[in-house]
């Protein structure tokens, strides 16, 4: 049992560290973890989940704003949603999505339609990738707990 736990913990550590190293997560995620206690054991996951709900909404709004039939895109509208997406990502440590939004905003400000469409595609990919990776990470946590172990604190270094 202990050997299994140790192995899972190592797997978990490596996986989590890689998420930080590849820029999927940043120190904000670590900070949210540090706000957890016995009464709020899943605070970080809950915030991620809420943020993802928000992100879906914002990505939807951006998509609609970019699919304008008349050929004129309201870049102001796009910009507002990109800003909100950036904020929600920043709030939970979703670094890649947040960084993409910075570029996205620049395209909005330049009224660059092709740039915006490219960013939208990338944002969608990054959001979905992050979601999958976090699910994998949380799955590992579950396995550790089920094997009778404790989830190690990992801060990305």
């Amino acid at each position: 049992m202990d050997a299994l736990v140790a192995q899972l913990q190592m797997q978990y550590r490596n996986y989590t560290v890689s998420l930080y190293q590849q820029g999927f997560l940043d120190e904000r995620f670590t900070e949210l973890r540090q706000l957890q206690d016995d009464k709020h054991p899943n605070f970080a996951a809950e915030m991620l989940s809420l943020s993802f709900d928000d992100s879906v909404k914002h990505i939807g709004n951006i998509t609609r704003a970019c699919k304008d039939q008349t050929g004129t895109v309201d870049f102001g509208l796009v910009d507002v949603s990109v800003h909100q997406l950036k904020c929600t990502s920043s709030s939970v440590g979703a670094k890649r999505v947040k960084d993409l939004c910075v570029t996205f905003k620049e395209y909005c400000e330049a009224n660059n339609y092709e740039g915006c469409v490219r960013c939208l595609q990338q944002v969608d990919i990054e959001y979905n990738t992050l979601k999958t990776k976090l699910q994998d990470m949380f799955n590992l946590e579950k396995q550790i707990i089920q094997a009778g172990g404790k989830v190690p604190q990992v801060d990305g270094h």
């Binding site: 904000r28 900070e31 949210l32 540090q34 706000l35 206690d37 016995d38 009464k39 709020h40 054991p41 899943n42 605070f43 970080a44 996951a45 809950e46 915030m47 991620l48 989940s49 809420l50 943020s51 709900d53 928000d54 800003h83 909100q84 950036k86 904020c87 929600t88 920043s90 709030s91 939970v92 976090l134 699910q135 949380f138 799955n139 946590e141 579950k142 707990i145």
Partner: protein, 265 residues
């Protein structure tokens, strides 16, 4: 947790299952620090609530400047009957909000006779010097860069004690202004009530619940793969009546004075 855009009022554990203004609310314990937090982002609202509760504050969180004014009784001309009992020690607001910005809210608060003395802190994701200066000139006590950290909130907490000294310290938070976070938490706050209201309509004031002792926490995997709202419905309603105790601040309490001319670092 309040999922809608309403107010989560954690003023008192005796307030439950009602989310309505005008209901009788017991006066706050004079020793409890009560913070009004204003942010249109649900995630940010919940996080700032968590940070404030960790530092032993009572929190009322609203999703807009209008709701904040409504809560303070500043939304119409006749004085609110609640005003006598309304004790707000700090207002912390996001800058960028649809409708009324944090700056506009700040101005309205500073124009009011009842609340102009209450320190107002602005939060923003953008480090724009002109924005910061404008807010400080209008009377903001401090300006925090988002995402707000526990260290930032702990620093705010140090303003809010009975003994005050005046200080002209630099109030602008700069990106390089990182403080080592002491992550050892005070005793966890008592669990709050779970509202069973998960409807789409947003009442002006709702109770924001936290998990109770009898709540068996879902694992992050479960939270992550199913909509959060369905999990919230499963939480039990549990009341607690023990108020939070405020830990004594370690350093000598200071209250920052409005800066005359914010300097640039």
């Amino acid at each position: 947790m309040a999922r809608d855009g309403g107010v989560s009022c954690l003023r008192s554990s005796e307030m439950m299952n009602v989310g309505i203004r005008g209901m009788e609310s017991p006066p706050l314990d004079v020793d409890e620090v009560h913070v009004l937090a204003v942010d249109d982002s649900l995630v940010d609202r919940i996080v700032i609530e968590r940070l404030l509760r960790i530092t032993s504050c009572k929190v009322t969180a609203v999703d807009s400047g209008w709701r904040a004014l409504e809560f303070l009784g500043l939304d119409n001309e006749k004085a609110s009957a609640e005003l006598d009992r309304l004790k707000v020690d700090l207002i912390i607001t996001d800058y960028c909000m649809p409708g009324m910005t944090g700056y506009e809210l700040l101005k309205k608060i500073k124009e009011s006779s009842s609340f102009r003395q209450v320190p107002v802190v602005i939060m923003s994701s953008e480090n724009v010097v002109t924005r910061i200066d404008r807010c400080l000139e209008e009377g903001a006590e401090d300006f925090l860069l988002k995402p707000v950290k526990l260290a930032d909130v702990k620093r705010l907490r140090s303003y809010l004690t009975r003994d005050v000294k005046v200080s002209n310290g630099n109030k602008r938070k700069l990106p390089e202004d990182s403080v080592t976070v002491n992550t050892s938490l005070p005793p966890p706050p008592p669990p709050l009530i779970n509202s069973s209201d998960s409807s789409d309509s947003s009442p002006p004031l709702t109770i924001s619940p936290e998990s109770s002792d009898s709540y068996s926490p879902l694992s992050p995997v479960e939270i992550f793969s199913s909509p959060l709202s369905s999990q919230l419905d499963e939480e039990d309603d549990v009341l607690t009546s023990s108020p939070e105790s405020s830990p004594a601040p370690e350093e000598s309490p200071i209250r920052r004075q409005k800066m005359e001319s914010p300097g640039l670092d």
